[in-house]
């Protein structure tokens, strides 16, 4: 059987996805194309004089080095904005996928077919990847396209790696939204849980640079695993990405298990 549930879920968001793609492409291109103006400017000099605590919160002094394209892109796009945009898309998909369909009542039509609940969860998660990956690719492509005209000094491999990190943290957030929705049937909980996790993981990354005893906590932060090692500057953090990938798998299995057991009340 073809992935019909995936197809329906992705198609239903087609218009929204096109809008997000245009928005992300525009934002990323603009931010990237102003790099030469920022590279050696009053702003750069001002940042050099920022208090070290502030710099530490945003990823350490090294990442504030706007003298390289990688440093600039890391701070302005990949440390927060791109992951956050993808996370928003992923959570909205994840909320709709189970809790939303249950609340609307369309889940009845879907599950009355000869298809297991586990299969529905699996196909919906495939759909999540199918929604997030193209948007991450658009972000990466926008950076590289501007890079044809502006000397960023960042290779295609590094950009792809950074986009993969953002994709992983987004898919994890979306799957958590599905898990929370499967467990409770509530849209509000499905939005709240992954949003809180993402906010907490951002704070942990920032504060761990300031407060030394918080540093071990970084391993609990998906955002740290995605971009905490600054892959644009330092290359593929294989272990961190594997952890994220594993967490996505665990969240998928948990969602499948929880959804399979739950009473679907209308």
């Amino acid at each position: 059987m073809a992935l019909l549930v995936t197809e329906r879920a992705v198609r239903d968001r087609r218009r929204g996805s096109i809008g997000w793609a245009l928005g992300i492409a525009a934002y990323v291109s603009i931010m990237t194309s102003v790099y030469p103006a920022v590279q050696d400017s009053a702003l750069q000099r001002a940042i050099r004089n920022y208090p070290k605590e502030l710099k530490a919160f945003f990823g350490g002094a090294a990442s504030f080095d706007f003298s390289t394209g990688a440093g600039y892109l890391n701070v302005e796009l990949f440390s927060l904005i791109i992951p956050a945009l993808l996370v928003i898309v992923a959570i909205s998909y994840g909320v709709r996928a189970l809790a939303g369909e249950q609340a609307d009542g369309t889940l009845d039509f879907l599950l009355a077919n000869p298809i297991t609940r586990r299969r529905v969860v699996l196909e919906k998660v495939v759909g999540l990847w199918a929604v997030v990956v193209p948007l991450a690719a658009v972000a990466g492509a926008a950076v590289l396209a501007v890079g044809l005209f502006v000397d960023l000094g960042v290779g295609i491999d590094r950009v792809a790696i950074a986009c993969l990190g953002a994709t992983l943290v987004a898919v994890l957030s979306g799957t958590l939204a599905m898990l929370a929705g499967a467990a409770t049937g509530s849209r509000a909980v499905a939005i709240g849980v992954p949003t809180a996790v993402f906010a907490a993981s951002y704070l942990i990354v920032g504060l761990a640079g300031l407060v030394s005893w918080l540093e071990p906590l970084r391993v609990a932060s998906p955002l740290y695993h995605a971009n905490g090692t600054q892959p644009l500057l330092h290359g593929l953090p294989a272990a961190n990405y594997l952890i994220l990938f594993g967490l996505c798998g665990v969240a998928l299995c948990a969602t499948s298990e929880v959804f399979n057991r739950r009473d679907l009340v209308r």
Partner: protein
């Protein structure tokens, strides 16, 4: 083999009332009505049959298969109309049918086209532009399109205009004539009495009675009002079989009628009748009747 066998089924959840120790058998090839007021547990029972809800205790078998273990096999052979159905809004009915057909591994397109034409489904407009009645038609078509052995219909005629409702009744009769089974819920006796062979009555989560429709109709009470051209003597009306609570004000007669209207109409016809109205049978009154019987212990809740 019975199409549906429910044994001592109990489903309790949260604050909502569930069902308690429900026993039910629906014979293959019958049209079976499941009657009760809103909130009586009809939808809960149906959702257990489809494995959307899991029994607290007891079990349900559908087409001889266990509702929990064999739900996929059951879904393959069952057509379902949810109560107050919600459809995917952005696509057209044709896209929806094609998609559902794909999930079922293909259907006979001629059957689908026949149903679409028969119900006058507006198949090429996005579903969110359609009225309640037109959506209900789509919900009906998707339940019948794969020619299932069993149809589980939760309040299927809600929102349908009378012509479409008639078409639906015809379709149900054809399906039954082919030996397939129809299980339909309703909160209106009039809705099921033309269609069903047997009716189960459920109230507050408990099965009150399973009756042939004729028996039920004989017990159902209607309010009748007759407007005469001139004042009449109520005395002969008071002694008619099945007629109770006769009140006369000027030329208007009001009474409660149980069973056939034959005697009442014949007596009334001796006078000049301007108008004759009869309300649908009052389900609550009917339930009270069964409750009284059940309490008196004369076995009205027999099977």
């Amino acid at each position: 083999m019975d199409a549906i066998e429910v044994e001592r089924l109990t489903k309790s959840y949260g604050r909502a009332r569930g069902i308690v120790d429900l026993d039910l058998r629906v014979g293959s090839g019958t049209v079976f009505g499941f009657l009760g007021p809103n909130g009586a547990g009809k939808t809960t029972t149906i959702r257990v049959l489809l494995d959307f809800l899991r029994p607290t205790s007891g079990a349900a078998r559908v087409l001889g298969l266990d509702s929990r273990a064999d739900s996929v096999a059951i879904h393959r052979r069952v057509g379902y109309v949810p109560g107050d159905p919600a459809l995917y809004e952005r696509i057209t009915a044709r896209e929806l049918f094609a998609w559902l057909s794909g999930l079922r591994g293909g259907i006979d397109e001629r059957v689908l086209e026949g149903l679409v034409a028969r119900f006058g489904v507006q198949a090429d407009r996005p579903i969110h532009e359609l009225s309640r009645g037109n959506r209900q038609k789509i919900a009906l078509v998707q339940a019948f399109m794969h020619e299932p052995e069993l149809l589980v219909l939760d309040e299927p005629t809600a929102g349908l205009d009378p012509l479409v409702q008639h078409e639906f009744e015809e379709l149900v009769r054809e399906v039954a004539a082919e030996g397939r089974t129809v299980f339909l819920s309703s909160h209106m006796l009039d809705e099921v009495q033309h269609l069903c062979d047997h009716v189960a009555i459920i109230r507050e989560g408990c099965l009150v009675a399973v009756e042939e429709v004729a028996t039920l109709r004989a017990r159902a009470m209607r309010e009748v009002t007759i407007h005469f051209a001139a004042p009449i003597d109520p005395a002969p009306f008071r002694v008619l079989p099945g007629v109770r609570d006769v009140e006369v004000r000027d030329a208007n007669l009001h009474c409660h009628l149980t069973g056939s209207a034959n005697h009442l109409v014949k007596l009334a016809a001796r006078f000049d009748v301007l108008d004759f109205t009869s309300t649908p049978p009052d389900l609550e009154a009917l339930f009270l009747h069964y409750y009284r019987d059940a309490e008196a212990g004369d076995g009205a809740a027999g099977h």
